[in-house]
Symmetry: C2
Subunit: 336 residues, 2 copies
């Protein structure tokens, strides 16, 4: 085996707390002849998502856990480099759940052809027009149901989903307050993503800052983090508010029972709703979301910022970044 | 002042933890001539509700706090014994927010005439066809939206709202599991209120018992208690489940921050909704609820069990009963 042998990243231990390098192992992808109907795909880029942390646990979720020893699950895209399948000619770009691997054997099932010329733009295919953008679009539109003039608060707002929600809510006429960690991200929320105000959760009590930023209360909260921030928002909901339960990054690395939410009874006096959703339920409506977002992208009102690390071996680092808020925009890993 | 002078119960201290007798004070109602347009009402019965504990705090809720020194807020009914108001002839029964007082001066505003003959039945006017029954009816129907065949779980199920929800859900064709404290209440849930199964939260781990009682999971949860029981239910929600947030009795006497809910992310994989409501938003639809419940009452399928204590001085005891689960059915206090 040479240094250029394709490799895949396998999950070999269920992480306790923050994922360690030793929870994963790079193994060579066996090089073999193609069977009839197969294509060989060189995977180019994969998406790094907080939800991966959940897939590594035994926890029941919308997908089964990744089994120990398996290649780590991931969305990605790559190009056909050899083919014995007429529908998958060499040069075709394929997008889907590739996993963290430099090389994939496939009959095309579960993968979607996305052209055959120039390489796809990861900011589009893995971010705005991928699961991230669809999560932001459908979560905000279908669960949050914001109306123009309402106040929308978004947590992990400088992250991939969060920054998309911020921009969509602005485009839909809302007043938008983003919550993020540190002055640099907060400045970016306002200057780059167009938020009306930003709350730095590392700078002091989130509740007080939210009261200042949202003097009339909160109509829609798009939650990516759970924990204390969710609790602070619950106390500040306006009548008939909606809380979109998208994720709980603050809990994903928890090794003990997380500090729970104590303010759920605020849902009563606010007549408010808290609702979870999973983007896979909306994938069949992807075209609708893309049609709505494409003009915003074209006009520069919707920016798909990506944060790229290079090399399959850096997967653990990339994952730690999205779990700790080290990334700005969509975290992508470039392979090979 | 004689022993038979009418008295009113005033809130004189904000309770810390369980309300004490010394948090209240009986004071004579000043006896005076009626002004033009006024009537004097002898209050007969008042409703004792867990929410009263919230009104005694400084906490923002759907009603302002009861101010210190004020007569304690309560729903009740009484009869006009003297009148200088042509619309309120002597003998008229009036229902509404009377407060905990034996004697009320009123121009009729905020009170509803409910006949002039025989005394109203507290099991109807304060329970099934009062705020309690309407809370059960609209909370279950509008927020829970149960479909025949679904599994409905109810906490504080032997209480006033809970026992009504159990019976309505059964009447609407659901499989119903009630949660209550102790074997007597659990037996009553099944034998008297028709629940399919009962979970005794004092008998061991609620989660395990719920898994046994609801092997397919939970479609609708009508929550009156919050806390650990809510957390146990969240982990067992079926797809598209609805959690009706009606109350949180387990937290009302808490003197420190309650143990929070740690399983809210279960709303994501179950695509579930948790929603609060307040019955006052539905009062204008009371006739609809009464029309739907009356035939069930007539046929004996909906029983309005009440638990009556006698004497205004027993208010603190009555309140402690509903907060600790000492009552069975609707707690009522008979005055005078």
């Amino acid at each position: 085996m040479t240094a250029s042998s394709p490799q895949a990243l396998h999950l070999i231990a269920r992480p306790a707390g923050e994922p360690k390098d030793s929870d994963f192992e790079l193994r060579p992808v066996p090089v073999r002849e193609l069977a009839e109907g197969e294509a060989r795909v060189r995977v180019s880029h994969v998406s790094i998502d907080p939800a991966m942390r959940i897939w590594m646990t035994e926890q029941k979720s919308y997908w089964p856990p990744v089994a120990l020893g398996e290649v780590m699950r991931a969305a990605g895209y790559g190009q056909v480099v050899e083919s014995r399948n007429a529908r998958l000619p060499v040069g075709t770009w394929l997008s889907g759940m590739t996993g963290i691997t430099e090389m994939l054997y496939t009959d095309g099932r579960g993968l979607r052809p996305v052209g055959s010329g120039e390489a796809p733009d990861p900011a589009r295919i893995l971010h705005l027009f991928g699961a991230t953008g669809l999560t932001a679009y459908f979560g905000l539109k279908e669960i949050g149901q914001p109306k123009a003039g309402e106040t929308v608060v978004v947590s992990a707002a400088a992250g991939a989903v969060g920054s998309t929600v911020v921009q969509l809510a602005k485009a839909w006429g809302c007043r938008v307050v983003g919550i993020a960690g540190g002055p640099a991200k907060c400045a970016q929320l306002i200057e780059e993503f167009g938020a009306d105000a930003a709350v730095d959760y590392k700078a002091g009590e989130v509740g007080r800052a939210l009261s200042t930023a949202c003097p009339e209360g909160i109509d829609v909260y798009f939650d990516n983090v759970g924990g204390d921030i969710l609790d602070a928002v619950l106390k500040r909901l306006r009548m008939h508010a909606r809380v979109v339960v998208c994720g709980g990054i603050s809990q994903y690395n928890a090794t003990s029972a997380p500090k729970g939410i104590v303010n759920h009874l605020a849902l009563i006096s606010a007549r408010a709703r808290m609702e979870g959703f999973v983007v896979i339920d909306y994938l069949q409506r992807a075209e609708e979301a893309i049609a709505a977002m494409a003009p915003l992208v074209a006009s520069g009102r919707l920016k798909g910022k990506i944060d790229v690390l290079e090399g399959i071996a850096r997967f653990p680092e990339a994952l730690r970044r999205v779990l700790s808020g080290g990334n700005v925009g969509k975290q992508v890993l470039a392979l090979g």
